[in-house]
Amino acid sequence: MKYEQFPDNRGHFGPYGGRFVAETLMEPLRLLEQAYEQFKADPKFQQQLDYDLKHYVGRPSPLYFAERMTRAWGGARIWLKREDLNHTGAHKVNNTVGQALLAKHLGKTRIIAETGAGQHGVASATIAARLGLKCVVYMGADDVERQSPNVYRMKLLGATVVPVTSGTRTLKDALNEAMRDWVTNVDDTFYVIGTAAGPHPYPMLVRDFNSVVGRELLWQSREQIGRLPDALVACVGGGSNAIGMFHPFIEHDGVRMIGVEAGGDGIETGRHAAPLSAGKPGVLHGNRTYIMADENGQIQGTHSISAGLDYPGVGPEHSWLKDLGRVEYTAINDDEALAAFHECSRIEGIIPALEPAHALAYAKKLAPTMSADQNIVINLSGRGDKDIFTVARVEGITLT
């Protein structure tokens, strides 16, 4: 099978993906798909994108050998793909730079975005400021509270942050509200979706823009390791950082890939955000994918210490890769992620975001099962400055 040919022309990854939205959005989505196909084939667009990624985002991001971590964990050598060093501090900006160019090309004057941890909101507000576009960010009211530094950053960048109080007051509800805004203002508004989910063409678009991570890693690992890594590990909420790193490696059968979901209090407690580990296929937010739903098909509330992973669905390509067995999916609990957050900070001098702390925690289990001449690359998808208040609160420390 040629993975590169997916999604098919109806936006399907096997049985997943597709376009499950109300009629009003069907034509705008078709036009977006068409514009993207033109853009992809246009060398001028690619040049502009490359320029922005290099000079504005600061790419390529380093592939860093974590020597002390390697020694501490024993077994395989640990490498970190440093997406935390991007402008705005996470991988999210790779995607917003691309989508904002599309928005400009389509003549839109206003962009909207949903955000969980606030990283995608910040990345959207940033690019809107740079391109002179109006920006409205929808954020679950609970997330507004637990990610206040990012809320303030968005405001500094000139964006309007709208707290969403419906439903479970988290990322899924922010996405609902952004969709409602889009359907109402579709003439002048571009919806910058932040994760590799949503209706076609978004999962493809977000994957393609984030694939710069995996493409860099291909040449960096040949250059620095001398060959391709043995295993790639990335956290999966909606799954944009993971699919960005995995996608260019899918055809390389020798490379193991592991996606790490948020286990929350533990899969067995039901308080988690791990649809691939414990959910089943359904339809949410415009695509068919693994979701967390109750016995009546209602979407369930999720739990994770990490706002960016606190989502009951996942990008459709991950669902497909799971069924095909090409990518393994597992879960890491809150307490294990927290421990990895501290360990990475202390051992390597890098404060990771709580999202990739899940990937770090899994790699810690994986490394000792491998030999010293093998290599694991972890996508360090964001930095942890935004999380210091959350971590302090969990540990009973008051910051002023």
Binding site: R10, F20, E27, K172, V283, G286
Partner: protein, 272 residues
């Protein structure tokens, strides 16, 4: 001919326009729904759209979002709703019932099982908001085999080729979404609606019902001038919201509110 088709044919032959109210099943409480449905019939409903509540109603404005939340607090499930339709059918075998909702709760039961149970409960049509024709193949055949009409939406953004393709898949009636936006929106422009309906009529003989943004008797009458049917949802659900603590007054209120629309639409018909 399906119950929907014969109902709409009769309405047409009487020189009237169809009045199609929407309420969310289970709102404010599952025990109220059947009596509210009967009140709608008394108020002049030709067809009833019964909403299936969903946790993530992406196409709905705040009024129906809250209705979904109220219904879900009481655990309203799709199977329970089929039970409500069955109970309604004990005293009314004439008024067509259309279930309106989102795909996931239906898919959870399984489309074949759902089609069977819906038919035996007395459901006549199904409108799945987030199911466009491109993804509908697996649903249309079991529903069609069960004699259930699959109602599709058309929107201001639907270009001619889509209108044609949607019309070819639809039966019962077509639901024209009058504005770009969510349910309960207030931007309704009747002349825009009229222009688009004329365009749609070039491709289909199906009755065209118009919904989203019809708030009162006046706007119902205006839309009735250009459409075959008028769908009213948020305006009724707002009443349910306001009086949720006194469900005993709701049947009377809905009957009255809908009755005023009925009268305005029928007067409009006589004038034109």
């Amino acid at each position: 001919m399906s119950r929907i088709a014969s109902c709409l044919a009769a309405v047409k032959s009487q020189g009237r326009k169809a009045l199609i109210p929407y309420i969310t099943a289970g709102d404010p409480h599952p025990r109220d729904t059947v009596s509210l449905m009967r009140a709608l019939v008394d108020g002049g409903a030709d067809i009833i759209e019964l909403g299936v509540p969903f946790s993530d109603p992406m196409a709905d404005g705040p009024v129906i979002q809250l209705a979904c939340e109220r219904a879900l607090v009481h655990g309203t499930s799709l199977r329970q709703i089929l039970g409500m339709v069955r109970e309604f059918r004990e005293s009314d075998t004439k008024t067509p019932i259309v279930l309106m909702g989102y795909l996931n709760p239906i898919e959870h039961i399984g489309v074949a099982a759902f089609a069977d149970e819906a038919r035996s409960s007395g459901v006549d049509g199904v409108l799945i908001v987030d199911l466009a024709i491109e993804e509908a193949a697996d649903f249309s055949s079991p529903l069609r085999a069960a004699g259930i009409d699959l109602i599709f939406l058309l929107a201001p953004t639907s270009p001619p080729e889509r209108i044609q393709a949607v019309a070819a898949q639809a039966s019962g009636y077509l639901y024209y979404v009058s504005v770009k936006g969510v349910t309960g929106s207030s931007k309704l422009d009747v002349s825009d609606v009229e222009t688009k309906l004329q365009q749609i009529r070039r491709y289909t003989d199906l009755p065209l019902a118009v919904g989203f943004g019809i708030r009162d008797a006046e706007s119902a009458a205006l839309v009735a001038r250009v459409a075959d049917g008028v769908i009213v949802g948020s305006a009724l659900v707002t009443e349910i919201d306001k009086h949720q603590a006194q469900p005993e007054v709701l049947p009377g209120l809905l009957r009255e509110k809908l009755g005023a629309m009925r009268q305005a639409m029928d007067n409009e018909g006589r004038l034109s």
